[in-house]
């Protein structure tokens, strides 16, 4: 998908292949910082100029336009070389941010290019397979007793109905007990969060802990009282490696990106000395810790 990313990223990363000119131009600068006084212009620069132009205009430039591009390029390059010679790029907030950003892009894209090996993913999975558990799921029935309709009698009525349901009395049909409601009279294989979305968090917490068996209750919810019968309970189920592979990969990439960045900064911080004056020293340590990804 790199093709669709910001052209600059592509340019930097695949520079050698597609936009070789960039790397080539920078080659001229030696370590002392002196400015190279040769400006090389070859077919490669020309192609690059034409392609950049073409991407914006959706057609190749005419000869006149290409001439203009070359002129502009030379003008810009001459001025830029001089500016660098005068060190105008120093202490310029825009240049600094832009340079930092280019490095950021490179880091980010490098991390994206990396892929985990099968073994890495397996190892990550094996560390703690329980981490990938699907939550416990219960199927249950509910008979509802409306506190709004029955007032103080709701609890007594619910207990009376429970007795009928569990004692084998003549009419144990739960669908005829309790009050009619828009709440469902059952949920199938629902986890606690799903139950909470329908019956509210209190009942969800209680019912998610129930084992299958007979009618119990009353259990209180946001709506009233419920007799509940858990018909089936699926314990938290550890999902197989194959089932969580994509999640593992996503997680690996997030971590890889983060740790690559932190490692990079660790390396940089070893190579650079930070000379802080007394007034700011207290703020340097926390900043360095953040860059290294160390907890506060």
């Amino acid at each position: 998908m790199n093709l669709f990313r910001e052209p600059l990223l592509h340019f930097l990363l695949a520079g050698a292949l597609l936009f070789g000119a960039f790397a080539w131009l920078n080659r001229g600068e030696d370590a002392s910082g002196d400015v190279d006084t040769t400006i090389r212009v070859t077919e490669r620069e020309l192609t690059w100029l034409a392609e950049t132009w073409g991407r914006q205009w959706q057609r190749p430039p005419t000869d006149v336009e290409l001439q203009g591009l070359v002129t502009d390029y030379l003008r810009e390059e001459l001025l830029a070389r001089e500016a660098r010679g005068l060190e105008l790029d120093r202490d310029d907030i825009i240049v600094r941010r832009r340079l930092a950003q280019k490095m950021d892009f490179i880091l980010e894209d490098t991390a994206r290019l990396a892929s985990p090996t099968e073994a890495e993913l397996r190892a990550r999975y094996d560390e703690d397979p329980a981490r990938f558990s699907a939550p416990a799921r219960v199927s249950f029935q509910s008979v509802f007793f409306s506190a709004e309709k029955r007032g103080d009698r709701a609890a007594t009525d619910a207990r009376a109905a429970l007795t009928r349901l569990t004692s084998g009395a003549s009419d144990p049909d739960p669908a005829r007990l309790g009050d009619s409601t828009l709440l469902p009279d059952r949920m199938e294989a629902a986890d606690e969060q799903e139950i909470a979305g329908v019956f509210g968090p209190d009942l969800a917490r209680t019912v998610a802990g129930f084992a299958p068996g007979g009618w119990v209750g009353p259990v209180e919810s946001e709506f009233g009282l419920h007799l509940v019968r858990v018909t089936e309970r699926r314990e938290p189920e550890v999902r197989t490696f194959e089932a969580v592979r994509t999640e593992l990969e996503e997680e690996w990439r997030r971590r890889a990106n983060e740790s690559a960045r932190q490692a990079y900064f660790k390396g940089l911080l070893e190579r650079y000395d930070i000379a802080a004056t007394d007034g700011v020293r207290s703020m340097i340590d926390p900043a360095v810790a953040t860059l290294r990804g160390e907890p506060d």
Binding site: Q58, I94, R98, L165, P172, T181, V198, G213, F223
Partner: protein, 643 residues
């Protein structure tokens, strides 16, 4: 159809009886032949099998912006489509202001709808693209944004202002066909594909078309039923001529062309009529200066089955000026200006801006043109520009990154243009879209939206049923399975009634179940709109079900439900109101020769508004006059009666 009910109910009682019997050894099991007789051969044993109507609403936001939207990026949104989807799925993320944030409950679906105009502009400006810096304005903006703080806000305001006024520098406009534009679209497509999990979460592909001529809002969210293979064959439609246009009629052509080209399926949802200054639901087409035509009506109804009736920039169901007898009409009203605050509102504009009046206007136009252009269902959405689809009062992350929670956000402007300002406290923590679909997939949700089986809420997830028919009886409201009765004897929200049987009036089965995490219910109302014998728009709001044995007063008004809100602690108690309401209502003044439209409005008891949660959390005081309580609500899609 009616017969189908009996086996359902019988099946339910028998299956439950059967289950109980197995657990009660002392009960004798019925002989097998008795069971055979009890079940008609064609009906499944399970009452749930073969039940092919929706049994639960799915919740989502059809209108969310991320940092890829030009203005959102300018205001500092750093979350992209990927983070937006992950947040909607229930993951914890870091907001642009650095706070960790998570939804109380995941959403079931989300449309990331970034602005098509200048899509990708901001990431490119932010990256200091050399071409942008060559432009004088581009350079000034880049520096402004880089400085952050107030400079960045000023810059963002300037960007939006120029955008609204059409004075954007041409050199800075990423247009369809450019790499910047394409790459932004690809990011959207990719994020939607990666996060679409049929059965558990639906990630829709979409964008927002942002027609804003003269600062008047005619925006539409465009959403696709299809995957990236199809949606990727086009690029989002912009307002820039010649490849784009600011005229909705041209957007509809684009939608048609998309379906013709790909065989796909797409729809558009308009929003914020309140900021259109009288041109959202026109009688006179603002682009031609002439009355709208039958072709306009047909095409609009074809592509725009839904309207976003509530969102952060104001509620759009009703306006107190248009509905002076409706004491609930003045809810989160934004009626000072058009979108960019360049032109103040005049009263005459309001009738073309609000959903309730538009539904009536649609009936009037239908009588004239033969087609109802404003035959829309209702949804709510956030239109948040933070990448965070938050509509809960106690978890509200605001309109844009600058209004994410902070101690001063109530008193600070959401936006200022010239001396006209809109202050932060006026933001509504609203809304979500509820969709009665059979399953959580792009196809099922989209199809339910096309048939308008949807409703809007201002945030809470109350469950609302609304059926219309000729034969609902009071006893249907006490049914154990109201939805079964509703579908069997009538049409659901979004449906049509015609051919009134002689002497009959429409009856409605309407029911609401509160959100277990929100306030109790105050009342259900049915809003009727119709065109009288003289061709004049009429409306009436009926209280049809309410809590606590209240009696309407001499003026016919039901007394208020009361108020348990403790503003200082941002809490309330559900000691008033009802946890559910259900009734059958019959139109008392039905005239079979007149067109009519009916929808239900459900009102909660007062609960703390987001401003109360802010004041409590940040330990400050709200500015004088800021509302600290709210009565959340739901608006169903209508049911239409056509003679």
């Amino acid at each position: 159809m009616r017969k189908a009910i009996v086996p359902y109910a019988l099946g339910t009682s028998l299956i439950i009886a059967g289950l109980s019997l197995t657990s009660l050894a002392q009960e004798a099991a019925p002989p097998p032949e008795a069971l055979h007789e009890a079940f008609p051969a064609k009906k499944s044993y399970s009452p749930h099998a073969g039940r092919n109507f929706p049994t639960r609403p799915f919740w989502g936001d059809t209108h969310l912006h991320t940092g890829a939207s030009m203005d959102a990026g300018a205001f500092g949104a750093r979350l992209g489509p990927e983070e937006a989807f992950r947040f909607a799925r229930g993951e914890e993320v870091t907001a642009s202001n650095g706070m960790r944030v998570k939804l109380a409950r995941p959403l079931d679906f989300l449309v990331v709808a970034d602005h098509s105009d200048y899509m990708g502009f901001f990431p490119k400006l932010f990256s200091g693209d050399p071409d942008y810096l060559k432009d004088e304005t581009g350079k000034r903006w880049y520096e402004g944004i880089q400085k952050g703080g107030n400079d960045a806000v000023q810059t963002a305001t300037d960007i939006i202002d120029r955008f609204s006024k059409g004075t954007f520098p041409p050199a800075l406009s990423p247009l369809p066909g450019t790499p910047t534009f394409r790459s932004a679209w690809e990011v959207t497509l990719k994020a939607a594909e990666a996060n679409n999990k049929p059965g558990s979460f639906t990630a829709f592909i979409g964008f927002e078309w942002t027609s804003n001529t003269g600062g008047n809002n005619l925006h539409r969210v465009v959403m696709f039923r299809d995957n990236a293979v199809k949606a990727g064959q086009v690029e989002p439609y912009t307002t820039f001529r010649p490849s784009g246009s600011d005229d909705p009629k041209d957007l509809w052509k684009y939608l048609q062309a998309y379906e013709d080209k790909t065989g796909g399926n797409v729809l558009a949802i308009a929003h914020n009529g309140n900021l259109s200054n009288g041109i959202m639901f026109p009688e006179i087409d603002s682009f031609t200066g002439k009355p709208i035509t039958k072709d306009y009506a047909t095409t609009r109804a074809r592509w725009e089955p839904l309207y976003e009736a509530t969102q952060i920039k104001g509620d759009g169901e009703a306006h107190p000026y248009l509905s002076p007898n409706d004491e609930f009409a003045d809810y989160e009203t934004w009626d000072k200006y058009n979108l960019n605050m360049s032109v103040p509102k005049e009263k005459g504009m309001l009738q073309y801006e609000y959903a309730r009046t538009a539904l009536q206007l649609g009936l009037q136009l239908e009588a004239k043109l033969g087609v109802n252009p404003y035959k829309f269902g209702m949804i709510g959405s956030t239109d948040s520009h933070t990448g965070l689809a938050t509509a809960d009062e106690d978890n509200f992350f605001g309109k844009h990154a600058g209004t994410e929670p902070n101690a001063k956000r109530m008193a600070h402007a959401v936006g200022c243009f010239g001396t006209n300002c809109i202050l932060g406290w006026t933001q509504a923590a609203s809304g979500y879209a509820a969709v009665w679909a059979t399953e959580n997939t792009r196809e099922a949700l989209f199809d339910a939206m096309e048939r308008k089986e949807t409703y809007a809420t201002t945030g809470p997830r109350m469950s609302v049923r609304f059926f219309g028919g000729w034969d609902f009886a009071p006893s249907d409201a006490t049914s154990r399975l109201p939805a079964d009765v509703g579908y069997a004897k009538g049409v659901p929200m979004g449906g049509d009634l015609a051919a009134a049987p002689a002497g009959k009036s429409p009856t409605f089965l309407v029911a609401a179940l509160k959100d277990p995490l929100s306030g109790n219910l105050d009342r259900i109302q049915v809003v009727k709109g119709w065109i009288d014998g003289k061709g004049v728009r009429q409306e009436m709001v009926y209280d049809v079900a309410w809590s606590g044995g209240r009696k309407p007063g001499a003026d016919g008004k039901l007394p208020p439900v009361g108020d348990t809100v403790d503003v200082r602690n941002a809490t309330w108690t559900n000691t008033i109101g009802a946890s559910e309401l259900i009734t059958v209502w019959k139109d008392p003044s039905f005239d079979p020769s007149l067109r009519a439209v009916y929808y239900a409005r459900v009102i909660e008891i007062p609960t703390p508004r987001w401003t109360a949660y802010d004041a409590k959390y940040f330990g400050g005081h709200a500015p004088e006059g800021v509302p600290m309580t709210t009565q959340e609500r739901a608006y169903t899609s209508p049911i239409w009666y056509t003679p």
